[in-house]
Structures are given as structure tokens and as C-alpha cells.
């Protein structure tokens, strides 16, 4: 049995008109992260050492850099979706809530942007 109205189903809307999108985005990014995080975790674990030369050489390989960029982008997106819900659940006053939601967006874009830019710098050798 479904509690969603036929019109809501067709339009893909939840009770707040957009709940299903968030839900789906969280699940899809989660599935992508299973592969990306496991690759990253085991790659680091299986490197012969974690010194400057080894890690840099590893990240200079095009496929490694490509997957690392995807990992950062998808992880930041998934984390942003999750922390948004945490803020919405626990911060009820309008002003602090708005401030936190906006601040989190800035932090995630800044953090992911810096990480991806760094990977590209290493990959393109500058």
C-alpha cells in the first residue's frame, strides 16, 4: 500500500513537494560511494608506503586522479545531503537554521573545490 497520492507519484513529489528527490539523491550517491570509498580505502591500505613520493606517484596515474575526483565530489554531495537533514532536525530557530544550512553549503563547496583542484594539480603536474 502506498500513502502517496496518484498526482504526487506522477509529479514525483513528497508531502513537501520535493522530499522524494532528496531521498533518491541520498540513496544513489550512497550506492556510488560503496564502490568509490572501497576503492580508495583498499588502494591506500595496499600502497607500499604512505610517504610523499609514493602517494604522489599513485595520484598522478590518470585513472586514480579521475576516481579520486569522483570520490570527493560524490562524498561531499552525500555528506551535504546528510548534514542538511541533521540541521533541519535539530535546529528549529529560523535564523540559526538558515545560517547553518548556508554555511554548510559554502564549507562543502570550498572543501571539495580545494581537494579536487589539488588532485588536478598533481595529475597535471604543476
Amino acid at each position: 500500500m502506498s500513502l502517496r497520492s496518484p498526482l504526487g507519484k506522477v509529479l514525483g513529489t513528497g508531502s513537501a513537494k520535493k522530499g522524494t528527490e532528496h531521498w533518491w539523491a541520498q540513496r544513489l550517491s550512497a550506492v556510488a560511494l560503496i564502490a568509490l570509498t572501497l576503492w580508495f580505502f583498499f588502494s591506500l591500505l595496499l600502497l607500499p608506503a604512505l610517504d610523499y613520493m609514493t602517494v604522489r606517484a599513485w595520484l598522478s596515474v590518470p585513472l586514480t586522479a579521475f576516481l579520486a575526483v569522483l570520490l570527493i565530489a560524490v562524498a561531499a554531495y552525500h555528506s551535504y545531503l546528510g548534514t542538511d537533514v541533521i540541521v533541519e532536525d535539530y535546529v528549529h530557530a529560523a535564523a540559526p537554521k538558515l545560517f547553518l544550512l548556508l554555511a554548510l553549503r559554502f564549507v562543502y563547496v570550498l572543501c571539495a573545490g580545494a581537494a579536487i583542484f589539488s588532485i588536478l594539480r598533481i595529475s597535471f603536474g604543476s
Binding site: R27, A30, V31, L33, I34, T37, L38, F41, L45, A49, L50, D51, Y52, V55, R56, L59, A68, I72, A75, A76, S79, G82, T83, I86, V107, C111, A112, A114, A115, F117, S118, I119, R121, I122
Partner: protein, 130 residues
């Protein structure tokens, strides 16, 4: 309009602590912790791009006692969030809702994360790593 003191949902204080709600809360806590871990990972990558000097500084910060404790906690947070996340994905497919399945998968997620964390750090420490 005067604010009324209505009871708030969920009534956390009236729940008996059991595997289901404990792991649900732990999923959220580990998720938030991994958000901070993403910041640390970004810092590590930025330091790597910055050259040998800045990378060595980052490695020193991360291998300090506090840094190591954080890394171990993040390893557990990642592995638990991953395993428990898979549990959630099965539930989203409508599978694994029976009481015994729920409890078994919950304990598997916790024990699996603990064992894999221990295994990963045993590899790091006994593989001649810095």
C-alpha cells in the same frame, strides 16, 4: 502567539535502548563524523599538492596521538556507516525487516566494522608504514 509546551517527537527519553535505535543514532553520528573526515581528507590532498614540506607537516599532524585517534575513529566511522548503509539500502528494497534479520544484520555491521578497523590498522602498523 504564546509558545505551548507540547511534547516533541521522537520521545527519546522514553525509548528503551536496544540495537535498532542505537545503530540508527550511531549511523547519524558516524555520518556527521565523516563530514569532518572529508575536511581532513581535503587538507591532506591540498598538502600533497603543496609539495613535500607541507605534506610532511600534514603527516606529522595526522600521526600525532590525537591525529591517530581521529584516524582510527574515522576508519571505524567509515566502515560502520558503509555496512549499516548497505543495511538501509536493503530495507529500502523491502528486505530484511524480520526481527531476527534486523538484529543479526545490526550486530554484523557493528562487529564487521570493529574487525575491519582492527585489521586495517594492524596492516598499517605491521607493514612497516610511517
Amino acid at each position: 502567539m504564546p509558545a505551548r509546551t507540547r511534547p516533541l517527537s521522537p520521545h527519546l527519553s522514553v525509548y528503551r535502548w536496544q540495537i535498532g535505535n542505537s545503530l540508527s543514532i550511531l549511523h547519524r553520528i558516524t555520518g556527521a563524523a565523516l563530514g569532518l573526515g572529508l575536511l581532513a581528507l581535503s587538507y591532506w590532498l591540498v598538502s600533497l599538492a603543496g609539495g613535500e614540506e607541507s605534506f610532511r607537516t600534514a603527516q606529522r599532524v595526522l600521526s600525532s596521538p590525537v591525529g591517530t585517534a581521529c584516524l582510527i575513529a574515522w576508519t571505524f566511522a567509515f566502515l560502520f556507516h558503509l555496512l549499516n548503509g548497505v543495511r538501509h539500502l536493503f530495507w529500502d528494497l523491502g528486505l530484511g525487516f524480520e526481527r531476527t534479520q534486523r538484529h543479526l544484520s545490526g550486530w554484523l555491521a557493528v562487529l564487521g566494522a570493529l574487525l575491519l578497523t582492527a585489521g586495517a590498522w594492524a596492516m598499517l602498523w605491521h607493514g612497516g608504514r610511517p
